[in-house]
Amino acid sequence: MNAVRIWAIEAVKKGLLEVQEYFRLCFTVVGATFSRPFYPRDLFEQIDVIGLGSLTVVLLTGFFTGAVMALQSGMTLDQFGARPFVGRLISASMIKELGPVLTALMLAGRVGSGIAAELGSMVVTEQISALRALGTDPIRKLVVPRVLAGFIMCPILTVVSDTVGMLGGWIVALTQLRVSSGVYWHAVVEGLFIEDVWMGLIKPFFLGVVIVTIGCHVGLRTSGGTQGVGRATTNAVVAASVVVLIVDFFVTRLLISIFF
């Protein structure tokens, strides 16, 4: 019993330490973002890696989510004779919730894991120590460009995802549900309020930062050789995915209280 208590205390202490170190990293990143030196070349490189590199997966996810939603909701709406409203359902769901969250989850899988693996490998091969020995702050050189790239690219990718999602829904509505283009797009516009659009656009800024900072935090705290890198990669994806959903809930709650 005593052993269980000690184990539980140690686990809580370890968890609290991780949280403390994560927030310390976040504060350091904020400070480093607004002070010299800057590494603009690394920022553009990361925008390419995080943004353009994730485009395919985001396009496919967004398109098929919109398409399958149209299929599923079409059947349900039929029961009420409301098939022409399928566009309204898709636009509201995609822009308010599914677009931001699915894009963030895809980024957590692709970008979060990549960052954790890359930085983790650099830690275990002493490249991070070498950077510091060469007079470069790893936070400024490696973390800040990635966080800024996540902050910029996550909302852009979300807009892309929302757009192709509605296109996917339109193709299914047109070909499977026999809803005309005019009716579909009219319903899409009707279903949206400006507050929904703001909500869908603001959330990805938070989610992008969360995914990248978790990837960086986990990567920089890697230990235990190549096995440790594997562990860090898995932890980064799991932690980022869960935290994305938690942050999504709280930011949504906050935005609802502001807008409505």
């Binding site: 490249q127 120590s129 070498a130 510091r132 020995a133 060469l134 050189k141």
Partner: protein, 283 residues
Amino acid sequence: MRAKSLAEFGLPVELAEAHAPVVLFDKVNLAFDDKVILTDVTFSVRAGHTKIFLGASGAGKSTILKLMLGLLKPDSGTIWVLGHRVDLMDEAQLMRVRHHMGMVFQEGALFDSLTVGENVGYKLYEETQMDLADVRARVDEVLGFVGLLQYIDKLPSALSGGQRRRVAIARAMAARPTLLLYDEATTGLDPMTALTVDAEVVKLRDLEQATSILVTHQLRDAFYVATHQARRTPAGDIELFEAGEAKVEEADFVMIREGRVAFEGSAADLRNSNDPYLQTFLS
């Protein structure tokens, strides 16, 4: 070319004298949780001299280099490097001290996504305002110095272990540091390749006047560095030869045993020591 005085680094009066220590450890202690790493470690390194740390794996040798660089902080004691109390400095202040230091890591720690040339010129490209043409010229010069100019556009993965160490040495020397630290620079290399790395250490110390601190458990390499000297011939070639007595005296050996300084002295003192542990280590 390299005429940096210690006073240039803001040395306190007592350290700014001729032959003043470049590095000074005073009763340094370090432990990670319950594991004691260093206990009361005290030593000094003079400008232009060589300090060689010997000891078994896990004795705490590499930790001493990390403390010098400020990559780790001691629990107690003081550490002076180039006239700065590095144990009290924050990361931003340490960056300015590290600008005058170079470190060769155990496995080279080359940036695997950059070419050999980019690795060597990294500090000059990223952390100085040096003109790009001058950076390229310096990269060519140091790669020529270690005999690897033909590999300038290759990635580190295309090099052998010995070549990677030599690139690491070139990277460490590119910014003309005052103090060079070598962490097991020859470990894992075959004897012939290790000798080429040792030769680079000697050349760098004698021709670029860098104070050298070596951590190793390879006695052959330690004695080679301590007992050899490099000079440039009138024809411009570099020649290595047996060092004279005065030069050999400039190399100090420190034996670290379980985190404590077990011995400090010259190569001759080390060879003549009656300490059973040292005798076992030397045998």
